[in-house]
Each structure stands twice: as structure tokens, then as C-alpha cells.
């Protein structure tokens, strides 16, 4: 049977109709939070913080943005980075762009990034090498034009050393973003 998403559309139009006319349809109106909602928020944050304090959250995973790609990593993972990378073998890097951090019971989502004082992801460069020989073959049919090239591109393999929570969720330091930096 043919079933369309029309029912959802009807609901959508209803919602839009109740909005004030000055707001454009793609914008979202946030209502004031009810007291009960605030209580739920507080309770959730307290639960997460107590797990962090007791160190009872289990294994952590993170989504990091490294060398132009988003990667899901956890302790001990190996990731491959395509193209040349400035870090040398044996170097330890800190991945600062953490988009998401998850554990068994909670997930922290960055908007777009999590605070660097909250999460720490350390990476060791284990190998830098070249890929296998790739053939780049270009041919234009019936035009008597063809070229063949051989190419081996750079890649690095990195080992994730740790994904660690370093602070509480709602407590922000007075000065942010200077953690671990040398001026």
C-alpha cells in the first residue's frame, strides 16, 4: 500500500500556524523552561557528575575531528590519516576538537565542540609510510588521449592513548582554553 508522510506534514503545518507571524517558518521558538524541566536537568547533571567524581563511568569513546575527518575513537584504537601530516613518529598529539563524548550511561554532545578543559584525547603517531602504488589512468574515448600515472601517497597511523574526562560537566574554570598551553 502506498503510504505517504502527509500525516507528519499536517502536524507540521499546525505547529507553524500556532507560531507568531513575525517568526520565519524555519526558526524555532524556545519556550521558557518549566520548573519541572529545570529540576530534571539538574538531576541529570548531578548524576553524570557523580559518575565522573567516583570514576565509575566505564570505557569512554569520543568523536574527534582530526585531519579533516570525524572519527569515533576509544582507548587503544588505531586510526589512519591520509596525506602528509606534520607530526613525526613517536610524537604525542592532543586531539582538541572533540565533538562528542560517550560512556555506558551518558553522552556529552558539543555545540559544536566540547570544552578542552573537560575532555582530553591523546594520540601517538606510530607509523608514517606510503600507500601501495595506485594507478591513475585517464582516457578520453575516441580522442586519442590517454595518460597513465603511478602514485603512492603519504599516510600516518596513530594510536589513541587515552580518552579521559578531566572536569565536571557544569563547572567551568574562570579562564578557559589555556589548559596545557605554554605562552
Amino acid at each position: 500500500m502506498l503510504r505517504s508522510a502527509a500525516s507528519n506534514n499536517f502536524e507540521g503545518t499546525k505547529l507553524n500556524a500556532s507560531q507568531p507571524t513575525s517568526v520565519k517558518p524555519q526558526q524555532e521558538v524556545l519556550e521558557n523552561q518549566q520548573e519541572s524541566e529545570i529540576a530534571i536537568t539538574k538531576e541529570t547533571i548531578e548524576k553524570v557528575n557523580s559518575q565522573i567524581e567516583l570514576n565509575s563511568h566505564g570505557r569512554l569513546f569520543a568523536v574527534i575531528h582530526l585531519a579533516g575527518k570525524q572519527r569515533r575513537v576509544t582507548d587503544g584504537d588505531l586510526i589512519m590519516i591520509e596525506g602528509a601530516h606534520p607530526a613525526d613518529v613517536g610524537d604525542v598529539i592532543r586531539a582538541e576538537k572533540v565533538l562528542l563524548l560517550g560512556s555506558r550511561d551518558f553522552t556529552l554532545i558539543g555545540r559544536p565542540l566540547l570544552r578542552p578543559d573537560l575532555v582530553r584525547v591523546e594520540v601517538t603517531v606510530v607509523e608514517k609510510s606510503l600507500t601501495h602504488t595506485k594507478t591513475v589512468f585517464r582516457n578520453r574515448r575516441r580522442k586519442n588521449t590517454r595518460s597513465i600515472n603511478f602514485c603512492r601517497s603519504h599516510f600516518s597511523i596513530m594510536r589513541i592513548n587515552c580518552v579521559r574526562l578531566e572536569g565536571l560537566v557544569d563547572q567551568r574554570p574562570e579562564i578557559e582554553g589555556v589548559d596545557g598551553r605554554v605562552f
Binding site: 500525516s7 576509544t74 613517536g90 594507478t135
Partner: protein, 183 residues
Amino acid sequence: MSNKHLFLPSGFIRTPLQNGLGRYIPQLQRITLKFCKNHGGSRGVRDFIETDLMEFAKTNPGTVVYLKPRRHRYPCMVAEYLNGEREYLSCHEFSRAEIQKWLSYMCTRSGIPVMRFRKYNHTDYPSIQGVWNPFTHQAPEINVAQFPHEILSKPVDNGPTATDQLIEIFKKTQIKDPVKPEH
């Protein structure tokens, strides 16, 4: 056009002995430079040995460098890695800079033979928040419910079907006959 890469051994990224998890150990254990003392093809190797070799040996104390002069033979380098692999590279008519680059390539490799990678990441812990199964988030009432059930046996999405909507639209667009005045 070459399809050689299709028959290359393929595999997944890995490191010997969990390298980088505890500490990073450079994997190149020894390298042998074979060259001719007076042939033109070995000129780059000879230049490299005269100018850069001492520095190379100092920066890589974990690697043993052997020099092996051979009369009127092409120059080459043979790298031996901790995992027992050997890699051979012909250096015929290489310039000094080329020798330097290939040596650094040999140094930073892990010794695992060149292969086509099937995946660019490796994890031993694919799921941390649990793997989905058909029982995940299932309501417990289903266990004791008797089927056929009044609510549970119905389809979940019971909005109007596309056919219903078409009939609705058709009905709306029907022009009603003007009421005939009674005589």
C-alpha cells in the same frame, strides 16, 4: 592500464607488539647501504655517505647502519625490521636528497608489508553503549499481553494512507450541484 593493485594482499591496519600503547619503539633495526665506489650510478649514495650519514646515525641510535661497497653493481638499500621483514630498494642513479627521503621512509615504517587497507580505522571495542537487538527498548507489557491484542496488534503508524488522502482531496474538489428550487 595496470590492475596490479587488485591482486595486492589486502588487510587491516595494525602495529607490531601493540606499539605506541606503552611506549613507541622504532621498528627499523638495521639498514644496509650497498654501493659502488667509483660507478656513476652510486654517486648519490656516496654523496649521502660523505655528508649526511653521521647525522642520520646520530638521530637514529636504535638503527644499525651497514655500508657495503660492491664493485660495479647497482646501489641499493635493504631495511630489516623487528618483525623479521626485509625491504629492498634499488637506489640506482638516486640523488642525495632522494636517498635521504627513502631512508626516512624506511625509518618511520613498521615493517609490515605494503598492502591495500580495507579500513582506515581499527577498534577492539566496537560498541560501548551496547549493541542493538530486537528487545532493546521494548515495553515490558508485551511479555504478558494476550494476542490478538486490541492496541498492540494494530499497525504503529495508523495515519491516513495515500489512497485515503487522494479520496479526501477528490471529495473536497467535487462541485456540488446547485440546489434546485422546489416548485
